[in-house]
Amino acid sequence: MTDNTEELDLRDRLNLIETMIAEGRRKTESWGWTFVLWGVAYYIAIAWAALGNPALAWPVTMVAASILTGVLASRNRSKGPETTIGRSMMAIWIGVGISLFLLMMFLSITGRMEIHIGVAIVCAMLGMANVTSSIILRWKVQFACAVGWWACLIAALFVSEAQAGILFLIALFFCQIVFGIYGMIRESRRNRAIVARQGASHA
């Protein structure tokens, strides 16, 4: 009886360690909303540019999306501490974000945007960022997104300008917006599961 009680107590402690480590890491993947936000921002910029004002569309949309990301991210950060994985993710996406921002803005300002090359560069950068973060997070779905971007990169170089643009919009929809929504749903499910587990352990 005593042995059983002791064993239960030890198991209880092992569970406690696992729960607390999971709790500390809980915020690591709460970035689904940024994928949705930037996916929508790209759609807005593309639509606005197509309507006839590319020199203004890209800078205004990118700056607005950057400010919105900064404000929402800082609000998110104040809710919990920083983790090493979280900082790695931030480093990758800030690096890619700034590079894409500068690329798209100056290509449109200088009027040197060539659709095939533009799409290929953006796809390559997004593929690189997605694959890096999928390896760090061990997330197969994100790896699939990277493959999607790479497929778009290759395909865009073999088709017409209009087709390359359409391919980019399709990749943007699935690998950015749908993936972001999936990430948000996953995060919300996980949070509910943790709350339920905590409720059960307190009971």
Partner: protein, 105 residues
């Protein structure tokens, strides 16, 4: 009858063995640093108890404390030290070894 080799069971570190201290070290092992208020919300502990247990961990050299002001508000940050990480790793190994023994007996 031949003498059986004596089974030596590992001892659990008493500083870490307390449930709240164990929870605190586990939480701190997964983050860079954490605020007192965050630790309180995650453990559901009272200010007094939490402060006392964190002080024990600090005295053992397992956590480091930094006090600063952010927008004129005091903020106490806790960070796990290298010896704290080593101690937690050893504790988990000892725990697993003990449980392994309990299962095999």
């Amino acid at each position: 009858m031949p003498e059986l080799p004596e089974l030596t069971l590992p001892e659990l570190n008493p500083v870490i063995h307390g449930k709240l201290r164990l929870a605190l070290l586990s939480l701190l092992s997964s983050v860079e640093e954490a605020e007192f208020t965050w630790l309180r919300s995650k453990t559901g502990s009272t200010d007094g108890n939490l402060g006392a247990q964190l002080l024990k961990l600090e005295e053992a050299g397992y956590v480091a404390v930094e006090k600063k002001f952010v927008q004129r508000k005091p903020q106490t940050l806790y960070r796990m030290t290298e010896s704290g990480r080593e101690a937690l790793t050893e504790y988990v190994q000892a725990l697993k070894q003990l449980l392994g023994t309990a299962i095999s007996v």
